[in-house]
Amino acid sequence: MQNGKMHPKFEKKPGKEETSYEINQRCLIIRLNDELDHHNAVKIKEKADRIIERNHIKHIIFDFSGANFMDSAGIGVIMGRYKKVIFIGGKIAVASVNSTVDRIFRMSGLYKIINKYDTVEAALNHLK
């Protein structure tokens, strides 16, 4: 059921870039470009997991510079990816987190298992 398949007319928001994915060595950089709620979480999980499996991804960096909203679905996305990479010694990082999203992370306790960096570059430097 939760397959993220929408009627075509709901699928694209004109003028807004979708979340993009970039691979740097064994790091996957997920540049979020929308609000991270359950609706978008379903799509991001599917896409990220495909890339993680095909490219032997070890570390994942979530770039929040384009995401100004997150709810508990975002916590689910990050915890789910954490469980995928932790067994191969991978790490999860978040970058460019605004104060609203930061508060959600602090409340959830997620900073016990992930690290926060000011920029994607700073995260990459630590993870490589």
Binding site: M6, H38, A73, G76, T100, I104, R106, M107
Partner: protein, 156 residues
């Protein structure tokens, strides 16, 4: 000045309506001149309540979600109601980190966030008939009482 207002919105339990619903509430409460933080709190709480209706209330089906908002002086009340499957054990559902749908990677923090971000949370549910979540928040409280915050608490 008579500072009361109300609105009712009905929409289908499609996940793209999560952002629609929280945007509507944000626009409705704008009259109370909330801070950015208060607005973020309300949007998160509404998003959690509506997502619950979609995932848990209706599951595979598409049903109708009714959202009612009231303003009374500087207090916002938001009710989010579905006519879905209902909750057998509300106390259990509200436990931090509990989720009935772990396969969906739900974090189990939905109700915790609603409780933390709003002043009051009530849940009424009848199995097989539906669930009503009622949340209240006073706007402008922090300006009076000074900055008190519930962050720093940890659920993990």
């Amino acid at each position: 000045m008579d500072n009361t207002n109300r609105m009712v919105l009905e929409f289908e339990s499609r996940s793209q309506n999560e952002s629609f619903a929280r945007t509507v509430v944000a626009a409705f409460v704008a009259a109370l001149d909330p801070t950015i933080e208060e607005l973020a709190d309300i949007k998160t709480a509404v998003s959690e309540a509506v997502t619950n209706c979609i995932i848990h209330g209706y599951g595979d089906k598409i049903g109708i979600i009714t959202m009612r908002c009231y303003i009374q002086d500087n207090e916002l009340t938001v009710e989010v109601e579905d006519k879905g499957r209902g909750i057998e054990d509300i106390d259990k559902a509200m436990e931090p980190l509990y989720t009935s749908r772990p396969e969906l990677e739900r974090s189990g923090m939905g109700f915790s966030f609603m409780e933390a971000f709003m002043d009051e949370l009530e849940v009424e549910s009848i199995p097989g008939q539906g669930t009503l979540v009622r949340m209240k928040k006073t706007i402008g409280k922090e300006a009076i009482k000074g900055f008190t915050n519930q962050t720093g608490q940890s659920a993990i």
